[in-house]
């Protein structure tokens, strides 16, 4: 009997050893790069579809028109009421409406790429702005404050951070080869994958600091340098043949200027290529009379 128990224990030990080897072979023990660990492919050209807040985004709302915003603090109200487009232009701060707190709401396109294995690059054609999303941030972002600030990123979702098997290589959608009947990526050629197979439903959490004061809206609704700005970027599951959507959920918590956190979610549609990419300078049209 005791021999059987010994055999049993030995079997268990051998079993764990085998599993450890197999897991290591699967890469579970090693830390994949953020790019390799991406649960979702965010790369590509994405166009904003302005189906919400249309008159606040396509047009420039009149001074003092702050529909939908949380109430300002006294400081926030003072700054908001002092908005003067001409003065901004003269002072060379035209990009205040194109900073991290407002850029996503500007009608335009995003071009998302991997700058390297641990940095996502987001180019905006509106205002010709660039943000770098760092997976390996320094302890304290240093340097001069900028319109886009310093962004740290981390993947969120099922399996993320638990040593899950990394997603396969993820070239940009618009760079995928056209291969009729072959293994396409659902955007250019090949049978489109079924719902859910395009991504694993994860998201990218982005926290940005070290930014300059700017505008949530074109007409001077302010956010302060001390605001907390968090974004969640999702690529939404889609059916074959239907559009692919990117959702950016933005939470601006700015006790200096806003009495409550400000929540928005902004939709972008995947485009086949960059043929409509049209960088423009920071420019805000005058509001209607």
């Amino acid at each position: 009997m005791s021999g059987k128990i010994t055999n049993f224990v030995a079997g268990i030990v051998a079993l764990f050893a085998t599993v450890s080897v197999l897991q290591a072979q699967q890469g579970r023990g090693a830390a994949p790069t953020p790019r390799a660990a991406a649960p979702v492919d965010l790369t590509g050209y994405w166009v904003s579809v302005v189906s919400e807040d249309w008159r606040l985004r396509i047009a420039t709302p009149r001074k003092g028109d702050f529909e939908s915003l949380p109430a300002f603090t006294a400081d926030g109200r003072r700054v908001a009421d002092s908005w003067d487009l001409e003065k901004d232009n003269a002072a060379g701060v035209q990009c205040k409406a194109f900073g991290v707190g407002g850029i996503v709401r500007q009608p335009g396109r995003l071009h998302i790429t991997w700058q390297d294995d641990s940095t996502v690059k987001v180019d905006f054609d509106a205002g010709t702005q660039t943000r770098l999303l760092h997976f390996s941030p320094p302890a304290q972002p240093a340097g001069e404050k900028t319109w886009q600030g310093y962004s740290t990123a981390q993947w969120e979702g099922p399996g993320v951070g638990r040593g899950a098997a990394p997603a396969r290589g993820q070239p940009a959608n618009n760079a995928a080869p056209i291969s009729p009947g072959g293994a396409g990526r659902g955007q250019r050629g090949g049978p489109a994958p079924s719902l859910g197979s395009l991504n694993q439903g994860g998201s990218l959490k982005v926290v940005t600091t070290n930014f300059r004061e700017g505008y949530l809206r074109k007409n001077g609704a302010p956010y302060s340098e001390s605001a907390s700005i968090t974004e969640y970027i999702h690529r939404l599951p889609s059916d074959p043949g239907s559009d692919t959507w990117l959702l950016v959920v933005t939470v601006v918590d700015d006790p200096k200027y806003l009495t409550q956190p400000f929540y928005t979610s902004t939709q972008f549609k995947l485009e086949a290529d960059g043929s409509k990419w049209a960088p423009t300078p920071c420019r805000t049209a005058a509001p209607p009379k």
Binding site: L15, T18, V50, S51, P70, S242, V249
Partner: protein, 580 residues
């Protein structure tokens, strides 16, 4: 022996469990959630300014509908307690509660249940892989939903949604709308995305998203009170609307915010960044056009097989034999309303026999068309009155006259005819009412009301597949349609908040309720009023056709069907006008 077994099995089981993919629990979306209105607040909470059509990829049909819309229409009793439909309700002020229904044996989620405080709406999102129902079942304001998790995103697809609006300013949504939703949770924040496809009124999917915050302490505001009441003395059969181009509120939004009218009508083009350049340059958008073919409706209503749907009470609907067939069953026998085309005889009889083996005692013809009466003889002969004769066929007198004039055989003809406006009798322990009204599809139209089952069988006075078909050769007309529909509206009683209650089997199409019926009545009245105005202004038929008075409904009921309807209405109204 037992230890031996354990020793052999345990390592294998452990090995398999360790190698398998880690099972991560789904995020919970259970809880009570309250809206945050940091986007489109004016539209979503207090109500949009009239004339705001921004951001919605509407087509020209939707524009016509919206510019004709008069908010006073909600004064009509049948409209007063209509809730928002699914694509609209999340855009209003709301809070909702989500809970899970689990299989007691496996603890797997069968469904998510959602209760929405605004309009007291309940939703079920089925997670058990069941298919969506066939098209002919009733639509509801919340539709039929199925869901699946994709990682941490719950994706929900909904069909069978009732017609309503995307905005209170009158941008219509059709009953062919489908919605894909995504529920995404981050801490105490829930993001909700809707991708709406509507082949009738949108040129592209309409996408919007909302945020909801978890309510830690709940909220008491969960009930919605609505009672029908005549608030303003008015003719409740008139349908408030503006003739095209005559709305006094159309420019309210553009004037209030200093925006060009053409820009706020932009449709899909105006939702893309390129439009901002045009807008800033003062260049108007291209006119709204919808170059896509209208959605196909099932015009081939003779199927290979008959499908049976239990409407409610004693009444069933048979689909696939031409016109819809209603079958009432009970201890006394079987009553059949209409019976389909002759080519489906055996299958119709078999379907009836599947429901009941009791004798077919009565048949009703709602009109004399062959797709309603093609099996008069066969079904009658298969049945038996208490005297042992073939089942009696009841119809308005004009049906008999028409069949006689068209030499239908004697055994096909309804010999139990009636002249009076209504007739009633009791069968299978419920009162059965027949109402006759002339000058609708033909001069011999009837509808049937089963009082106990609370089911109306409308005949061709109400269709969900096409415009009204006016058979002038059989003395059809327009007034009978409106009178018949108004009579049905007076009989139908919806359950609380304008859904269900009395069900209506149309001559063709899906099972409906009062909310569907009133939309059909409104459509006929609105198109009639437009054509009446054109007739008064002396427009020719060609000019009327060119003005497309049915434009806003053609995507739903068919361009060709619309052209025929417009022509028929024009001729009727012109004749009336000339007689004055």
């Amino acid at each position: 022996m037992k230890l031996k077994l354990i020793v052999r099995i345990f390592p294998v089981a452990l090995f398999i469990s360790l190698l398998s993919t880690p099972a991560f629990a789904q995020l919970s979306i259970v809880g009570e959630w309250a809206g945050r209105y940091h986007e489109d607040n004016t539209d979503r909470v207090p109500g949009d300014v009239q004339g705001d059509f921004t951001g919605v990829p509407i087509n020209e049909a939707a524009r016509r509908y919206a510019e004709s819309y008069d908010v006073r229409r909600v004064n009509l009793l049948e409209h007063q307690c209509e809730p928002y439909n699914l694509p609209h309700i999340y855009r209003g002020p709301l809070q909702f509660r989500i809970w899970e229904e689990k299989d007691p044996a496996t603890q797997e989620i069968i469904a998510y249940k959602i209760y929405i405080g605004t309009y007291q709406q309940y939703r079920t999102i089925w997670m058990d892989g069941r298919p969506h129902p066939p098209e002919y079942v009733p639509h509801t304001f919340m539709g039929f939903s199925t869901g699946q998790w994709n990682g941490d995103i719950l994706t929900v697809k909904t069909t069978h949604i009732k017609k309503e609006f995307y905005r209170r300013s009158g941008i219509p949504s059709s009953d062919m709308t489908t919605v894909v939703e995504h529920y995404i949770r981050h801490g105490n924040l829930l993001s909700h995305v809707m991708i709406i496809t509507d082949p009738v009124y949108l040129t592209e999917p309409y996408v919007n998203s909302e945020e909801f915050a978890l309510m830690e302490r709940g909220n008491q505001n969960w009930l919605y009170n609505c009672e029908y009441v005549v608030e303003v003395p008015m003719d409740m059969t008139k349908v408030p609307h503006y003739l095209p181009g005559k709305s006094p509120v159309l420019e309210d939004f553009s004037k209030k915010f200093g925006l060009p009218l053409a820009a706020v009508w932009g449709g899909a083009e105006a939702t893309y960044p390129e439009f901002m350049t045009k807008f800033n340059a003062g260049t108007p958008p291209a006119p709204l056009r919808d170059t896509r073919p209208p959605p196909r409706t099932d015009t081939n209503e003779v199927h290979g097989e008959i499908e049976t749907f239990h409407v409610q009470g004693n009444v069933y609907m048979l689909v696939g034999a031409g016109a819809n067939i209603a079958v009432q069953i009970g201890d006394e026998g079987v009553l059949v309303v209409d019976n389909g085309v002759a080519s489906m005889r055996d299958k119709v009889l078999a379907a009836i026999r599947k429901l009941s083996t009791k004798p077919i005692r009565w048949m009703v013809n709602t009109n004399g068309d062959l797709d309603h009466t093609g099996n008069n003889e066969a079904v009658s002969q298969a049945g038996q009155t208490v005297n042992g004769n073939p089942a009696d066929i009841i119809a308005a007198e004009d049906v008999l006259a028409r069949m006689t004039a068209t030499n239908r055989s004697i055994s096909e003809r309804p010999l139990k005819t009636f002249f009076e406006e209504s007739r009633d009798f009791s069968f299978n322990d419920e009162a059965v009412f027949l109402y006759h009204y002339p000058s609708a599809h033909t001069n011999g139209e009837s509808f049937v009301y089963f009082r106990g089952s609370d089911v109306l069988v409308a005949g061709d006075t109400f269709l969900t597949t096409t415009y009204p078909v006016i058979e002038t050769r059989f003395y059809g007309g327009l007034d009978g349609f409106i009178a018949g529909l108004n009579k049905m509206l007076s009989i139908a009683v919806p359950k609380y908040l304008q859904e269900g209650g009395t069900y209506i089997i149309p001559g063709h199409g899906r099972v409906s309720d009062e909310a569907d019926l009133v939309e059909y009545r409104d459509m006929i009245v609105i198109i009639r009023d437009r054509i009446q105005d054109m007739v008064k202004r002396g427009l020719t038929l060609e000019q009327v056709k060119a003005a497309r008075p049915s434009l806003d409904y053609d995507g739903r009921y068919g361009v060709e069907s619309g052209a025929r309807f417009v022509e028929a209405v024009y001729k009727i109204l012109l004749e009336k006008n000339n007689k004055k």
